[in-house]
C-alpha cells in the first residue's frame, strides 16, 4: 500500500479550506446584523476537542490574516495549557501572524472564560469560546421551541426561573454565563465569563463574536450596543464579591490591584491567596508599581 502519493505536505493558511471560511464569514455578518441571534453554521471538525474552543477557533481562522496581532487567553492567562495549545496551532497554520500577550497590542483576542480587564478599543475584536450558546436551555430542552421563543423575545420562563431563585435563596444563584439581553431583544448566554465581565459587553468599543463549535452557532454583540443582564428592579445584578470578612476589598497578592477579578488558591503553606486572573493586567500593574519604587 503506497500512501506517499496522497500524503498532505502542507495545510491551507488558516487550516480550513476557503469554502469553510466563506460559510463562517457569511454567518458572522448575519450575526452582527442580528445582535444576539445564534446563527447556525456547519462547524467543521478541528484538530482539538469539541469543548476546547473549536467554535472560537473557526471564527479566529476565518477572521485572521497576515499582519494580525493575536492574543489567546484561557481563564485570563496566556500561559494556560489550552491557550498555549490554540496559539501554537494558529501560529503553525497561519504564517505571517504575530502573537502577543499584551492586551493593548492585540488586534484579535481569542478568549475562554474571561474578557480582559483593560477596556478593549475600536480596533480590536474579541472572540469568545462558547460551550452552551443558548440561555434558554435551562428552561426548554428543545431547540425547535427555543428558536420560536427567541424570535418572539419571550423570556418569561427564564424570568420565572430567576424569580424562583430569589424566593428560595434571596439571591440570583447564576454565577457565570449570566443571561444578558442584547439590543433589547435576544437574550444570550455570554459564554462562561464571570458576572464580573458581563458589564464589559455593554456599549463596548470593540466587536464581540461568540463561537460554539459543538453546538454549531455563531453570535455577536456589536460595538456600542445595549447588553443588559436580566434582572428584577428590586434585585440588582451583582458581580463577584471580593471583600474579606471585614468588608475590605481584597487586593492581588502580586501586583496589589484592588479592582480586578481575582483567582483564589491555596499556597504551599496552606494560606488562601488572591491574584489577578488577567495575567497581562497583573504584569502591567506590577511594572507600574516597580517603576514607582525605582523612580
Amino acid at each position: 500500500m503506497n500512501m506517499t502519493s496522497h500524503t498532505p505536505t502542507a495545510y491551507n493558511f488558516g487550516f480550513l479550506d476557503e469554502y469553510a471560511k466563506k460559510e463562517v464569514r457569511r454567518a458572522i455578518l448575519k450575526a452582527v446584523s442580528i445582535p444576539g441571534y445564534q446563527v447556525p453554521y456547519a462547524s467543521r471538525e478541528m484538530p482539538m476537542g469539541r469543548g476546547f474552543g473549536t467554535g472560537g477557533l473557526q471564527l479566529t481562522l476565518s477572521l485572521i490574516g497576515p499582519g494580525e496581532v493575536l492574543k489567546v487567553i484561557d481563564q485570563g492567562s496566556d500561559d494556560s495549557v489550552n491557550a498555549v495549545n490554540l496559539r501554537q496551532f494558529i501560529e503553525m497554520t497561519c504564517p505571517g501572524v504575530s502573537t502577543t500577550t499584551r492586551t493593548a497590542e492585540a488586534t484579535l483576542i481569542q478568549s475562554r472564560h474571561r474578557i480582559p480587564e483593560r477596556p478593549l478599543t475600536g480596533d480590536q475584536i474579541i472572540v469568545l469560546q462558547v460551550p452552551y450558546p443558548d440561555a434558554l436551555v435551562v428552561v426548554e430542552p428543545s431547540e425547535d421551541k427555543r428558536k420560536i421563543m427567541h424570535g418572539e423575545a419571550d423570556y418569561s420562563r427564564l424570568l420565572v426561573k430567576l424569580y424562583e431563585d430569589i424566593v428560595q435563596f434571596d439571591e440570583i444563584t447564576i454565577s457565570h454565563r449570566y443571561p444578558t439581553r442584547i439590543n433589547g431583544h435576544y437574550v444570550i448566554d455570554p459564554s462562561p465569563i464571570p458576572r464580573w465581565d458581563v458589564p464589559k459587553l455593554h456599549h463596548s468599543r470593540s466587536l464581540a463574536l461568540f463561537g460554539a463549535g459543538r453546538e454549531k452557532k455563531i453570535y455577536a454583540v456589536p460595538p456600542h450596543t445595549d447588553a443588559e443582564p436580566l434582572v428584577f428592579t428590586d434585585v440588582p445584578f451583582r458581580v463577584e464579591d471580593f471583600r474579606d470578612g471585614e468588608g475590605r476589598r481584597r487586593a492581588c497578592e502580586r501586583c496589589g490591584c484592588a479592582d480586578s477579578f481575582l483567582d483564589e488558591f491555596v499556597d504551599g503553606s496552606g494560606e488562601k491567596v488572591y491574584q489577578c486572573s488577567d495575567s497581562d493586567w497583573c504584569d502591567e500593574h506590577l511594572a507600574e508599581a516597580n517603576q514607582g519604587v525605582t523612580a
Binding site: N12, F13, K22, R25, L29, A31, V32, S33, K147
Partner: protein, 187 residues
C-alpha cells in the same frame, strides 16, 4: 497564470474584514481600493462572500457571465435569494426574503450599487447598534424608495434585510437594526 486579486484567498480575507467593520459600524465608509487592484467593489464583495452553497439574484444584470461561473453561487429570484445585487438608481420592484421568526438570518443581504459614498446630495443620519451616537452617511445615486422599502421590510424585527452600499471602490453597511433619518436632500 495570473489570478486577479479578488479571487485570491488573502485578498478575500482582507475584504471580509472591511465588510465586517462596515457591518459592525453602520454608516462607516470603508475604502477597498488598495485590496481590489482595479476591480470594482461589487465584484470584490461577491468574490469574497459567494460560493456554491449560497444563492445570488442579479435582477439588473450587474454581474458578468465570466464572473458568474467563478462565483459558483446558484442564481435565484430576487424574492428568494440570500444575496441580491441591485442598481441603486432604480426603484425597488420586488420584496426580498425577510427570513422567519425562528431563522431571521434567512433575510436577504442587499448589495446596492450607488454612484458615490461619502459624497452626494442624499444625507442619512444613522443610529442603532454599532453607532456611538449618530453617524452621518452621504451618498449619490440611491433611489429614495430603497430607504422607504427597507423601513417596511424591517418593521418586524428580527425579520428584515441587511444593506451593503457599494460605489466603485468603497463600501458602507446598514444592518436591519440601523435606524435611518433622511435629512432633506440638498440640491
Amino acid at each position: 497564470m495570473n489570478i486577479e486579486a479578488i479571487w485570491q484567498a488573502q485578498t478575500q480575507q482582507a475584504l471580509f474584514r472591511e465588510m465586517l467593520e462596515a457591518m459592525a459600524r453602520p454608516g462607516t465608509v470603508r475604502d477597498l481600493a488598495h485590496h481590489l487592484e482595479g476591480a470594482n467593489a461589487l465584484r470584490g464583495l461577491l468574490a469574497t462572500l459567494m460560493d456554491g452553497s449560497t444563492t445570488l439574484a442579479d435582477p439588473h444584470g450587474l454581474v458578468h457571465d465570466a464572473d458568474r461561473v467563478l462565483l459558483q453561487a446558484a442564481l435565484d429570484m430576487p424574492e428568494r435569494a440570500r444575496f441580491v445585487a441591485v442598481d441603486g438608481e432604480r426603484a425597488p420592484d420586488f420584496q426580498p426574503a425577510l427570513g422567519t421568526l425562528a431563522s431571521p438570518e434567512l433575510g436577504a443581504t442587499l448589495v446596492i450599487v450607488v454612484d458615490a459614498l461619502d459624497a452626494g446630495s442624499l444625507t442619512l443620519d444613522l443610529t442603532g447598534p454599532g453607532v456611538e451616537s449618530v453617524k452621518r452617511l452621504a451618498c449619490a445615486g440611491l433611489h429614495p424608495d430603497w430607504i422607504a422599502a427597507r423601513e417596511e421590510w424591517n418593521a418586524d424585527f428580527p425579520l428584515g434585510v441587511d444593506l451593503i452600499l457599494v460605489d466603485k471602490t468603497k463600501l458602507a453597511a446598514m444592518p436591519r437594526t440601523t435606524r435611518i433619518n433622511v435629512l432633506a436632500e440638498v440640491h
